[in-house]
Amino acid sequence: MSASAPLRSALGRPAPSARRALRGALVLGLGLSACGDPPKDAAPADDGEEETGEPVERGPAPEVTPGAPALRRLTQSQYENALRDMFAGELYVPTNLEPDNDVEGLLSVGASTTSVSAYGVELYEAAALTVAEQVLASPEAKAALLSCTPTGPDDSTCAAEVLGALARRAWRRPVSAAEVGRLAELVAQIGAAEGSFDAGMVYGVAAVLQSPHFLYRREHGEGTGAVRPVTSVELASRLSFLLWNSIPDEELLAVAESGALLDEAVLEEQARRLLAHDNARRGLRNLFDEVFHLYNLPGINKDPLVFLNADPELGASAREETLLGVEAMVFDDDGDFRDLLTTERAFVDRRLAALYGVAAATPEGFGEVYLPAELGRRGLLGQASFLMLQSHATSSSATKRGVFVRRTLLCQEIPAPPADVDTSIPEADATSPTLRERLQTHLSDPYCASCHQLTDPIGLGFENFDGIGKWRLTENGATIDASGDLDGVAFANAWQMAEVLHDSPLLGPCFTRHVYRYGVGRVENGDELALIGWLNEGFAGTGYSFRELLVDTVLSPGFRNVGELQ
């Protein structure tokens, strides 16, 4: 028998009656108002099951008028992935680029609203030249790029052949003879001046990579009216960036150029082909990187005097743990997506294993371990990624953790605090040793309580984890009370709360919405909420298979059409 066995007995599932109560409350929209108002932007809570739990037959997709098309700039990760997919061999891709912008929690949505500053243009130019020089200097990359042997430094015919193919790939569409001619002429002129074909090609390649056709994703659609189909090649890009977070490969581009991709069966076939490819793991990782803001973890600032485990690599390890868990769930198991919250399986390296208090599986890299119940830690919300990110540099934060649950997992809107409000909390003292007592300020002041009553009772449930996710039973010598309730459903601790959230009818719709927004690069309009609800019905109907949700999203009219061009 384990010495920690008594703790295990304290953990357990919330009573079925309590789970039913939560489900009912959520479906009816009770108690979920953000700061006193009904939650905004909350996706429909229909989980596609009848009260018996049996899946119901889903009707046809609702007719929707999609939002106006967006012109998306490549995110930094898309820029890097695209270059790596275009060129062979090792490649250093500069990261000093115009920064991505988080809008509504997603960089992919922010990419539709950002412009490029004059300085940003210089950064893209410098990056393009850096990459082009590497490609022409690397025997492997150069051999893969040059499909012809130049007859001289100003061989515009060879330049046109090479850059025509490169531009088609980079710009993700057929290129015109005029476009290719301009590129070839540039190479010929510089090649002649420098006495070197390669010197000219450096500028030719760089020109392709600096082009707005490469840096921006044009998904304007065609035709007229309020509902217009995206073109076949635009659809290929949408598909590829959704599933691979990169440009289409040759097969997809060829299918798109033939126009066949507009056929639903072909589109589904291509979607499933892409999902079966290793690049899909990269795409999925990026999706969750954005949704959970994991990209903020490497180099995250934590006070080393407070957190002894907070070495500089911990954040990066925490990010990888979460992404490996998502990968395993989606690609290795094709399991119930909601199990991300309750899984007792974790992928940890030595550093995280020490933080969690479990034996590491391997001395090097990450390995799969099982988290025993007595550790009180399971699922996404027991991972250091969430617990570190949603904390302060010197302490945990019940408010930030509660906001994350509301906003990111349940898609409820929690307004930011007013600019003039004092958000500090009292220092710990003998009468208020734990955060629960100190947060009473939030809850006793009606002005603060309107929002904090929605976040803090949830966030306090994670107080057994400090600001980097290390388990603790006490704070300042006092026993931590991690009990609370989520809209009327009581939980004793984070371990129980995981199940409450797993069973929340808002969880599925929320992630359906994340995927939809990520795929189309903008916030849905009211019309599209119905489509998201319909997609969620399908999600639930497949046992919350995330892969099927991705395919369903791709085939949906919201993904294949755009609204009026504005």
């Binding site: 010495a3 920690s4 070495d311 020490a354 034996a359």
Partner: protein, 318 residues
């Protein structure tokens, strides 16, 4: 463990450590590598087969147990409470431990201040350095433990771990880390130990492999006693281990290395007369030595535990 494996790549840096070279005579070492202590009439506690891991403590702070006014940690190794002139204990005055237990054998504690006035001044610091550099990772693994407070039948393995320890931001080895079992060093298995009021005690000879700076040292400790007090939450432990080392062997080792002449003269003068334990009646040829430690929870990689099965001998080495 063999003294032949002693490797000195930098004797100059090893000077303070020469005293730690205390390999037992070869004749005493036959068959000692896979050691299961004779428990006499005590019950033998079979470790649970479904829990290879058990609970492991890593000694992350190790130092020599020092004496102050006749008080020092250690154990009564010879069963006697010796007073100078009473004919027992080689006529050496035993110490009393901080809990008031008399008869404590830890003669090295009396020698330590003198050594620290010589070239061996840094001996304590080097010992801790070897811990933090992963060269001395002593572990006590306990299987079948039902309670940190009381358990009358647990199985214990005392040995070395290997691996590069992760350090906390305070410069101390982090708790909860995983290591490999040192498959090349011996592990002492005790299949009938008990925990009483949080105190794990067991008797055993043991070997400690010291890799300090450029030196690889093996230390055989006979007549050993180990004691560890486990915190109620199991998140820390403190304790000490005590045993005797062979003085003739220490003297022979000292002659092999380029030790500072003054220090060598001092050791040759002092060591023959400080023996407080005997390998045979009246020999007084062993020096008692105690180490204090603080320990934290740790783990072994499952693969490592499978590679070095419980009770097994170490892998053969050249």
């Amino acid at each position: 463990m063999t003294c032949a494996r002693l490797a000195l790549r930098s004797p100059f840096r090893l000077l303070p450590l020469a005293l730690l070279v205390a390999c037992a005579p070869p004749a005493e070492k036959e068959g000692a590598d896979a050691e299961v202590v004779d428990t006499g009439d005590l019950p033998v506690c079979a470790p649970p087969a479904d829990d290879l891991q058990g609970v492991t403590f890593l000694m992350h702070k190790v130092g020599f147990a020092r004496s102050t006014e006749g008080v020092a940690w250690g154990s009564n190794l010879d069963g006697e409470v010796s007073v100078i002139g009473d004919g027992s204990g080689c006529n050496k005055q035993d110490l009393t431990d901080p809990e008031g237990t008399p008869g404590i054998d830890n003669a090295f504690a009396g020698l330590l201040p003198t050594l620290e006035q010589t070239e061996a001044a840094a001996i304590s610091g080097l010992l801790q350095d070897s811990v933090e550099q992963g060269e001395l990772l002593l572990t006590i693994q306990v299987r079948g433990l039902d309670s940190y407070a009381d358990d009358d039948c647990v199985s214990v393995a005392f040995g070395n771990a290997t691996g590069a320890p992760l350090m906390g931001t305070d410069g101390v080895i982090l708790a909860g880390q995983s290591f490999d079992r040192d498959a090349t060093d011996r592990v002492v298995y005790v299949d009938a130990a008990d925990v009483e009021d949080g105190r794990l005690s067991f008797a055993s000879d043991f070997g400690i492999k010291l890799q300090i700076l450029d030196a690889n040292l093996d230390l055989d400790v006979t007549m050993g006693q180990v004691r560890m007090d486990i915190a109620p939450d199991g998140q820390s432990a403190t304790g000490h281990f005590t045993g005797g080392v062979s003085i003739p062997y220490m003297l022979s080792e000292i002659e092999k290395y380029a030790i500072d002449a003054d220090l060598k003269a001092l050791l040759n003068q002092v060591l023959p007369v400080v023996g407080d334990l005997s390998s045979e009646p009246g020999a007084c040829d062993m020096l008692s030595m105690a180490f204090e430690f603080e320990a934290i929870p740790a783990f072994f990689y499952e693969e490592s535990l499978e590679e070095v099965p419980w009770g097994s001998a170490p892998a053969a080495t050249d």
